[in-house]
Amino acid sequence: MIPIENYLVLSATLFSIGLMIVVIKRNAIAVLLGLELMLNAANINLVAFNLAHPERLDGQMFAVFVIIVAACEAAVGLAIILQAYRVFHTAVPDSISTLKES
């Protein structure tokens, strides 16, 4: 049986890599990739904690709902990015600064 700590360390690593991608990359779609990675890391935790209580399926059920919501988020997020690209002709979030003062 795989110890639960292994899952937790794996998910912490994936989450931190996703966080680094969100902060470092300068493209809105790359930021979305990092977000998906972070959601996957959370899902690994849910499945791992379900292993400690195999008579219930709450963790796996929650993981499936997280996957559904993540798919919705990716679709709406990309629609917004496309519309912003059409208006500003760029997919770099830092250069879309109309609301910023000066």
Partner: protein, 169 residues
């Protein structure tokens, strides 16, 4: 089984790091696909077969395709592949390593017990139990997820649609 876990974990972490260092956005999306498949393998070895199948269907089959669509639609008209510039290396690395250290310390210090092998029942496999729970205890969230997907479908289509200035609203 633990070797399979380590192999899948290595695939997932290596391809996630590949996204971080990828020069081109398209390569990053393909490496995200590999990472999703690695995570699906993790689910498969931890008695979550249905989650693994959903991961492959929805993430590897759906989300990655949407993201590749987005990359192609936001590519320059010249047809050059989109290169991703990086910024804030210092603060990003600091934040990532800090979060990793904090989480791993937290997880290693705490005691979460060991995983238990699910009782194997000849009559009900894991997927059977999943379906039964989905149609009994989790009926309301299931319908809510369907409603959310419908709203997303309509919303994404409305947001991404091109509007003519001449047409009404």
């Amino acid at each position: 089984m633990i070797y399979a876990f380590y192999i899948f974990a290595f695939i997932a972490i290596a391809s996630a790091a590949g996204i971080l260092f990828a020069r081109r956005l398209f390569h990053a999306a393909l490496m995200l696909l590999v990472c999703f498949l690695g995570v699906a393998g993790i689910y498969a070895v931890s008695f979550a077969e249905w989650v693994a199948v959903t991961q492959i269907l929805v993430y590897a089959g759906g989300v990655v395709v949407i993201i590749i669509f987005g990359i192609m639609l936001t590519a320059r008209i010249t047809g050059r592949p989109t290169a991703v510039a990086n910024s804030r290396w210092f603060s990003g690395t600091l934040l990532g390593l800090g979060a990793m250290g904090f989480l791993i310390t937290l997880f290693v210090r705490g005691s979460f017990g060991n995983g238990v092998m699910p009782a194997s029942d000849a009559k009900f496999t894991m997927v059977n139990r999943f379906g039964i729970e989905l149609m009994t205890d989790y009926m309301l969230p299931f319908e809510g997820a369907g409603l959310l997907l419908l709203i997303t479908l309509v919303g994404a289509a409305v947001i991404a649609a091109t509007r003519n200035k001449n047409s009404i609203s």
